[in-house]
Every structure is written in structure tokens, then in C-alpha cells.
Amino acid sequence: MKPPPFDYARPRSLDEALATLAAHGADARPLAGGQSLIPLLSLRLARPSLLVDLSFIPGLASVQAENGTTVLGAMVRQRALERDAQVAQRLPVLAEATRLVGHPPIRNRGTVGGSLAHADPSAEYPALALALDAELVVRSASGERVIPARDFFVDLFTTALAPGELLTAVRIPVPPPGTGWSIQEIARRHGDFALAGATVLLRKASDGTCQHAAIALFGVATRPLRASAAEQALAGRPLTSEAIREAASLAAGWIDEPLSDVHGSAAYRRRMAEVVARRALEEASRRAGA
């Protein structure tokens, strides 16, 4: 189980990396933490001709606070995020989600950008990016563009990134104080990819009705989903258990074609989507300040 041959580039600047990617087109692949890519190489399921290692580029691994926004460099290691005081305070849902990503040795290497760009439908970060209305900052030799998370995840392991483009950062609007949050997932074992997962951000109006709900599902479809119908159904309504049940049911119904594999059929995943959506809504509602 050994990787096939490929060439390797170790750019020392972002421009150098972008130039290298531009020169090699689709045959080149950026290498971030490698925790998903390298097993694919060893299993010979991926065959890039060139790996462009992003680890030696300065400036891609910072966590920065701008007004109301947290900016995570693409090469921020998951473990660093897990331990980051600012993230813990401003984005507790992200800190908690990070603890669900694999195991510590994986998080020691795995990066925020790598996980987003890999777009595993069962991964936590893409769903969080959706729920948090994050923006993905993308660079190429011809410039920069910003892609809203809702447009970024296209299909199974497929994003809006074009050949030659590199995800360099993700901008996350920090939810206002009082926002309730939750991430719930069902996995066969601790650290496994989710069979079904949901993350929720919820704000209540002063009368206790739902002012804002963001519900994102993962592990259930070929890409993470925002359950818009469920979100709309909750808007302006009191967050009763009945309203939450209805929303969870709408969320599960929102899935077009659930994933199916050896660990869980499509039918099971759809049912579990409802369970995790409900549980996440309940927990977020408890956490939300009125």
C-alpha cells in the first residue's frame, strides 16, 4: 500500500505556490495537512503528478479577529483551533466540532483549509462553514475571489475551486452574543466520520420566538446541506418542542438523495438526520439567550 510516483514542490511563498499550480493545471494538487490526501495516495485512489506543499508558506496559519469576523488561515491546524482561546470564546461551536474531527494525531496535522477543500460530505467543517455563513477566500495567479460557503460545496469531494486556485482563508462572521449553538452527530465509533450530523445556530427574539435559525446537515448527502425549509418554518415561531420536531422533520425531508454505504443505508441516514437535527435544535435553543 505505497503511493504512486509524483513530483513535489515546496514553495516558500503564496505567489510561488500559485505560479506552480498555474503551470501544472489539474495534474497538480495542493498538499495541506495531508490527512485525507495521503491515504488516498497510499490506496492509489488519487494520482496527481505533482504535490504542492503548502506547509512552508508563511502567513497561512494565523487566526485573526477582525470586527465581528474571525479569519482562519487555510493552514491553521485543527489542533491549534481546538486550543485557541479566541475561537473557544467567539465560536464555541467550532471548538466543539473540532473535537469531533478524527483523533488528536489527525488534528495535529489536519488543517482547516484542507478539510474544507477536500469537501468530504461527512466532515464537520464544511457544514459549519455553511451554518455560519462563512466566506472562503480563494487565490489564483490571476487574483483573489471570495466564495460564500453556500456556493463552495458542489458535490461529493467537489468544490467551486478551479484548477490553479487555492483556498487561503475562511472568514467567519462571529455570531452575536446570545446565539445558541449545537453540533450533534452519530458515528459508529468515537472519532469516526458521521453517519448523520447536524449543526445549528439559533437566536431568539426577546419574546422567545425564533429570530434566526441556521441548520446544516452533514454525513447524509453528497454535500453538506443548509435545511432552508426548516429554517424558514421556525422563523418567528416560538421554539416549542413541537416546532422543533416539525423543523427536524422538514430538515430530513430536505435531503434529496441520502448517502448509503456499509455503515448506514439511505433510509437510516434520513431518519438519523431528523434525530440529530432535533437534538441540535433542542440544545441550541437551551443555549440561546432570550
Binding site: P5, R44, Y268
Partner: protein
């Protein structure tokens, strides 16, 4: 000194730290993959991507021109090698030998078709991708019952059927038992195919010296001497010119007791290429092509009185054999062993079993800890739980009413097993007490009111151990036994123990040294145990089936005892007292009652080798003895109780604890006994909840990585409580019984029983293992709709 009871002083029975550990802890230990010889070349196998296909042609021309490639071998290049077939003569079992490289047909995903030899494993894998095989895919059959159907695809056309064995045996008055029954119950269980998955995969290294004609073969094997014998026969090299070295072995659990096609091919490649040839199996190969285990479809029918007495039992056991029966009657081992142990610890005199073995397009079956018994125990214990529920009896009470009472030992089962001794009822009561059974039942009722579902599962078991020739026959297999130990004291007084049993994690270097040290009166530090190298260890069967504590312990005790007598004789001449008046402690031979009249072991040994005064006329002066031991059958027992909580919405199971009370007779080292039990329990948890080799209808293997084949980790195994009972065997040396398998024999039933107990309010029925979240949710849903 009689060896019925072994001395228990400083060493025997003590929690001695393992002498082998430092080399593992520091990374110094050398496993197969770690052995580096100059000039070594590496093998990658080309394996079938189809479950069933005809091979129309194989084109190796491109692969042969790849960089670093020495050779590509296909079936046509190894015609000298015979196909592998079971050597065990079991009447009625159709032979289904496996060619070492597939020739005309492939019958499971992962079957080896070609061997590519290159300067590195990287290059060998590159070239293996360039071997072009033209397949004609055939319909596959992956379900044993479907494979029995007349219009199912047939794996071995020459047989005209996939059924390779079918036999019904009636014991006692089965019709009478059913005629007297108040109730008749039925249950079906399809146990999952799961695998040993040792952390170290298989591997071997073949080194042939052309000038001398000597083959040195390194292999991660549990049976070095058997491997030597068969390599000699297959390769046509005289046995005395074959040396097999089993280096450190990273777990076996039965998977490495088989002589595999890959081993024979690699040995041959070493011989014909004249370079050391190494193959280190990767995990995908291991999951696809090393032997699978434990899959049976079992149907049970019980004749029961209203008071819970089981009057009679009928069983139909269908073993899913996979594609070939290439080792030790492998198609049959699961259902036949399962049929024999089906009555278990219960007093059942009327029993009928039908044993069927069926070929399917899946990997061949082999041994894995508690062969056949895991499935039988699981089916029967879950069945008994169900019967208890139907009768309104507590499942513990149903067991009490049927368990063989202590006054009946030795007890001969209707299947011919002779249970020598045990603590069947006591282990049940003790396990219930430890787990707090009554309190748990109260708690269970309370939690149900809150919509939480706690479950308790009981698995009461007996475990055939000490796999010598007698117990093998009692278990249904004419399996030979031949084992011996040589104990030698060197001139400096240090002790060498060479044994034919093999350690791949069991700690023989410690336990067998404890036996020798105790009997010889020396420190364990003065004893070294040698095994695994056929040039240094005596000929024998190796290690499997919980045999090494009994057989290894027994033969070492016998040999050490004889050497002790020699030491005492030599010392008696030097000290001028009778040997009976001497004793040995802490490496000093002394006159009983006059400890100042003494000699060190060094002095006695030195003199025995080099001082003629110690030699009597006609007596062998050698401080060495070789002793053979083929024990009588002995049976361990125990009870495993699991407590769990089930989330009925998601089907996720949270294990709270597992309590195991075990009785393996005299313990050589309780710490190691506990290690065996705990490790086997974890495997049983895997078997009950996580592990399953899944194939799709086309014969495709869905679980060929550790991403899909799920082993339990530290977060899935709950706190384990182990308690010992100790009823020494009346029939073995020292009263020792084996301990290797009980945990895996009994835990799946205990864990699955706990889950089903939690679901009892819903009348949820489950016929397949493992209990995945989805299966649990599905069972709950279908119970709702009933």
C-alpha cells in the same frame, strides 16, 4: 514430587512482570517486516478484483519491463507447486483445494493471481498495476443459503454443488424429548463474518542458499515446525535443510496458524531467484485474503418444560466456508465445532444437529479464537434469553435450572466431551453478585419509566482448552498433537528452556520460565525460553486453541522435574548425602535441615559437566531432559455479564461495564490470564457491535480497510472487571487449564444479550450480527409494525 500439583512458591502463580517486555517497549523487537537482509527483493501480489470470474488471459509483458522488476510469476510459472488442501481426513468433506496462484478462475476478491518481484515494495506495486488480466466476470454467490440452492452459481464445477459437507447426527431420544415438551421454541441467528485482524499483518522472507541447498524461511506464523514440514514437502527440499524462523509475531489469534498460498509462493521465489524475497502483507490484503472467520447460519429448536427445563435441542448449523477449504478442514471447522459445543454448560441429553458447509465467493475461512464456539454460544445464549422471556423467567434463573451441577463432574456431554471439573453454577452466581444483578434489574425498571433502556446480558460458558489429541477428538476433529520441551542447565548453572509452542503475545518467555524456575529452584532471571526457530526449538505444533499453558506448562514441568532430579543426583555425590535429603532454593542446592551444607547451582552444574566424580556408571551426565506431553482433555469455564444502555432513537449502544468470572484451573500468572481474558472480551465486543466482513451481491468486498472494517478502540471498550475462580483440573499436569478463547467465545452473546434485554419491552427481533445502529433501529421499527 508428583506433578499433579505443582509447587507454588516464589514464581508459579505470581504476578511476574513479563521478561520479554523491554524489547517491545523500546522498539528493539524485530518483527518480520523489521528484518533486513542485504539484497532483499520485494513481492506485491496481483489480486482478483472480482468475487467470481474466469481468467481468460494474463499479460505480464508490460510489468516485466517496469523499473526494478526482477520477475512476474503466474500460475504457469509455479506448476511445480501443488494446490493447498486440507490434510485432515474428515469423512464426507469434499476437497476444494486452492491453487497457490489462481489459474483458470478466481473465486473471491483478493485471490492471488500473480506475484511481482521488484527491488522495493513501491516498485513492485507500480509493476503489479501493469499486469493485465482479462476476466470474464461470473455471477457470484455470497450467501450460504442461496449457495445451497440448485440454481446458484457453482464455485467448483467439478463438484456440481456448493455444499461440501452435510450430515445429521442424533444423540439421545430427540423425538421423545420433543413429545414431552410443554413448549417448543425456535430461533435463527446469522452470525457475522469477522476476522482476527492482528495488528501485524502476515509476511514472510525466503532465503535460499544455492550451494548448500538450505532454505531459511522467516514467517509471521504460529506454527513454525508445521510450516517447515510442508514447505519441505511442497518445495522438494529435504526437511533437515529447511529452517523456519518465526520472529516476533504481532498477534495471531488463529489467523497465522495456516500455511498460506502466499507463503508457498514466496518460499519458491526465494529458491528460484536466488535473492532473499520478502513479502509484507498490507492491511488491504490482510482484510481481503487472510482467513475470515465465524460466519454461520444457525437455526435452533428447543423442547422446553414450563418450568424452564430444556429437554432437547435441535440445531442446524450452516457454515459459510468461503471459496476454498485449503487448511485444516477449514470449510467445516466453524459448524462442526459449533455443533459439538452447542449444549455448552447445560445438561442436555437429547440433541440433534445437522452440520452443513457451503462454499461461497468470499475469502476462505480459518481459525480465529474460539472457532465455531463463538457462533454456537451466541446463538444458544440469545435463544435461552428469549425462552426465558417467553416463559416469564429471569434469564439467570433459566440458566440455574439447566446448568450442570458440580456433583456431576466428570460430566460427559451427549456430544462426547468430558468436562473434567469446573465452577459452572458458582461462576454464574459470582458474576451476578459482582455486577449487582438484583439492583440492576430494579434500575432497569426505573429507567424504562424515563424512556431509557438499560440491558443486562449473561453468557455462561465452557471452553475446551489444551488442544491435544484427546480434546481435538472430543471437539470433532482428528487433529494430531506432538509437543515437547527441552530443559537444559548449562555449565554455568543457567537454564535454557526450548519449547515447541510459540508465543505471539501470550508471554511464554515469562510463564514457562516461571514453571522451570519454580521446579528447579532458581530465579526466573536465570531462565531463558526459546521458541519460534526450528533450529533452536524442538519439533511441535506451535500455538493455537488455548494449548500452550497446559501443554507448554506441562512439558516444561516434566522436563524441569527430570533435570532437577539430575541436579540433585550430581549434588548428592558432591555433598555425600542422598538426593532425597536435598532441596533447591534461590539457586542453591542444600541439605534439608542443614542449609550451610550447600552448593550453588553454578558449582553443581559446572561439576556435572566437567567433574567425573558426579557421573555414575551407566548414567547420562547431561543436565538436560526432553519431555513430551499430550494432555487429557480439560475444560475451562466462566460467566460474562454485560451492562449497556441503548439509545432507541439512533440504535447506538453504550456499554457500561463487562464483568467476567473465569476459571482456568491453576494459574501460572494471573496477570497474564487477565490480559488474555480482557483482550478476548474486546474482540467479542467488536464481534457483537462493530466488526463485519461485508460483501455485496456481486461478490465485492465492502470492508477492505480499517475505515470500513471497524475494530473497537479504547473508547468502545468499557471498564472490565475480571475475577478468578480456580478449580484445578484433575487430569492435567498441575491442574492447569487453558484461557485463550473464553472471552471471545462468550462475549458476543453477553453483549448482544444485553442489547436485546434493553430492547425487551419492544419485542424487537434480531437475526443478524453485529448489532449495528441501523439493525437496532430497524428491529424496533419492525416490532412497531407487528
Amino acid at each position: 514430587m508428583t506433578l499433579q500439583v505443582l509447587p507454588r512458591g516464589k514464581w508459579l502463580g505470581a504476578r511476574v512482570k513479563r521478561v520479554e517486555d523491554p524489547r517491545f517497549l523500546t522498539g528493539e523487537a524485530k518483527y518480520l517486516a523489521d528484518i533486513v537482509l542485504p539484497g532483499t527483493v520485494h513481492v506485491a501480489f496481483v489480486r482478483s478484483p472480482y468475487g467470481h470470474a474466469r481468467i481468460k488471459s494474463i499479460d505480464t509483458s508490460a510489468a516485466k519491463t517496469m523499473p526494478g522488476v526482477l520477475a512476474v510469476f503466474t500460475a504457469d510459472d509455479v506448476t511445480a507447486l501443488p494446490p493447498l488442501a486440507s490434510g485432515l481426513p474428515v469423512e464426507g468433506l469434499q476437497p476444494t483445494p486452492q491453487p497457490v496462484l489462481a489459474k483458470d478462475k478466481v473465486r473471491f476478491v483478493g485471490e492471488a493471481i500473480a506475484a511481482v518481484v521488484a527491488e522495493s515494495r513501491y516498485l513492485a506495486e507500480d509493476a503489479a498495476e501493469q499486469v493485465v488480466v482479462d476476466y470474464e466476470p461470473l455471477p457470484a454467490v455470497v450467501d450460504a443459503e442461496r449457495a445451497m440452492h440448485p440454481d446458484a452459481p457453482i464455485l467448483h464445477e467439478e463438484l456440481g454443488t456448493n455444499i461440501v459437507y452435510q450430515k445429521t447426527t442424533t444423540l439421545g431420544d430427540i423425538e421423545g424429548a420433543f413429545a414431552q415438551a410443554d413448549r417448543v421454541f425456535r430461533r435463527r441467528l446469522h452470525t457475522n463474518r469477522f476476522v482476527a485482524a492482528p495488528m501485524e499483518t502476515r509476511g514472510c522472507l525466503s532465503v535460499y542458499e544455492r550451494a548448500s541447498g538450505h532454505l531459511t524461511f522467516y514467517s509471521s506464523t504460529q506454527m513454525p515446525h508445521m510450516l517447515r514440514l510442508f514447505l519441505a514437502l511442497f518445495l522438494g527440499i529435504p526437511e533437515h535443510k529447511v529452517r523456519v524462523i518465526s520472529p516476533e509475531v504481532g498477534g495471531g489469534f488463529g489467523q497465522k496458524m495456516t500455511i498460506y498460498p502466499e507463503e508457498v509462493v514466496v518460499a519458491y521465489l526465494g529458491k528460484v531467484l536466488g535473492r532473499p524475497v520478502k513479502w509484507v502483507e498490507d492491511r488491504r490484503e490482510n482484510l481481503a485474503a487472510a482467513t475470515h472467520a465465524k460466519e454461520q447460519i444457525i437455526e435452533l429448536e428447543a423442547a422446553v418444560r414450563n418450568d424452564g427445563t430444556i429437554l432437547g435441542l435441535k440445531a442446524r448449523l450452516i457454515g459459510d466456508a468461503g471459496a476454498y477449504s485449503f487448511n485444516t478442514a477449514s470449510a467445516l471447522i466453524e459448524p462442526l465445532a459449533g455443533a459439538g459445543l452447542m449444549p455448552g454448560v447445560y445438561d442436555i441429553q437429547h440433541y440433534q444437529h445437522e452440520v452443513i458447509a457451503v462454499c461461497t465467493n468470499k475469502a476462505p475461512v480459518g481459525a480465529f479464537r474460539a472457532v465455531g464456539w463463538t457462533a454456537a454460544q451466541t446463538a444458544r445464549e440469545l435463544f435461552f434469553d428469549e425462552i426465558a422471556r417467553e416463559l416469564g423467567l429471569d434469564p439467570a434463573e433459566l440458566r440455574r435450572r439447566n446448568v450442570i451441577p458440580p456433583e456431576r463432574f466428570p460430566y460427559t456431554t451427549c456430544t462426547g466431551m468430558v468436562y473434567d471439573s469446573g465452577t459452572y453454577r458458582e461462576s454464574l452466581e459470582r458474576a451476578l453478585e459482582l455486577v449487582g444483578y438484583e439492583e440492576l434489574r430494579r434500575r432497569q425498571a426505573e429507567l424504562r419509566q424515563q424512556g431509557r433502556y438499560l440491558g443486562v446480558g449473561i453468557s455462561l460458558y465452557v471452553e475446551p482448552t489444551a488442544w491435544g489429541s484427546e480434546i481435538a477428538l472430543q471437539a470433532g476433529f482428528p487433529f494430531p498433537s506432538h509437543d515437547n520441551a527441552t530443559v537444559t542447565i548449562d555449565p554455568s548453572g543457567k537454564v535454557r528452556v526450548a519449547v515447541s509452542v510459540h508465543s505471539h503475545g501470550q508471554g511464554h518467555e515469562t510463564t514457562l520460565a516461571q514453571v522451570a524456575a519454580e521446579i528447579l529452584g532458581v530465579s526466573i532471571e536465570d531462565v531463558v525460553v526459546e521458541h519460534g526457530d526450528t533450529d533452536r526449538a524442538p519439533w511441535g505444533m506451535g500455538t493455537y486453541a488455548s494449548r500452550s499453558a497446559v501443554i507448554g506448562g506441562g512439558m516444561v514441568a516434566l522436563a524441569a522435574q527430570e533435570v532437577r532430579e539430575k541436579v540433585l543426583r550430581a549434588a548428592s555425590r558432591l555433598l555425600e548425602v542422598a538426593p532425597e535429603d536435598l532441596d533447591i532454593q534461590d539457586g542453591t542446592v542444600f541439605v534439608k535441615g542443614a542449609p550451610d551444607r550447600s552448593l550453588s547451582m553454578f558449582q553443581v552444574a559446572f561439576a556435572a559437566y566437567l567433574d567425573n566424580r558426579t557421573r555414575a556408571e551407566g548414567e547420562e551426565p547431561l543436565l538436560s531432559a526432553t519431555k513430551f506431553y499430550d494432555p487429557r482433555a480439560t475444560y475451562s469455564n466462566g460467566c460474562i455479564v454485560t451492562v449497556c444502555e441503548v439509545d432507541i432513537e439512533t440504535g447506538l449502544v453504550q456499554l457500561d461495564k463487562v464483568v467476567a468470572v473465569e476459571d482456568c484451573g491453576t494459574m501460572l500468572n494471573p496477570m497474564i490470564v487477565e490480559g488474555q481474558v480482557m483482550g478476548a472480551i474486546a474482540q467479542g465486543i467488536g464481534g457483537a457491535l462493530y466488526e463485519e466482513m461485508a460483501y455485496d451481491e456481486s461478490g465485492q468486498l465492502m470492508t477492505d480497510t480499517f475505515v470500513n472494517y471497524l475494530l473497537p478502540s479504547a473508547t468502545e471498550v468499557p471498564p472490565l472487571t475480571i475475577e478468578h475462580l480456580e478449580s484445578p483440573s484433575p487430569v492435567t499436569i498441575g491442574g492447569i487449564k487453558g484461557i485463550g478463547e473464553g472471552g471471545l467465545l462468550a462475549t458476543p452473546a453477553s453483549v448482544a444479550g444485553a442489547v436485546l434485554d434493553a430492547l425487551a419491552p419492544f419485542d424487537a427481533r434480531i437475526e443478524r450480527l453485529p448489532l449495528t445502529p441501523e439493525r437496532i433501529v430497524e428491529a424496533l421499527r419492525s416490532s412497531e409494525s407487528r
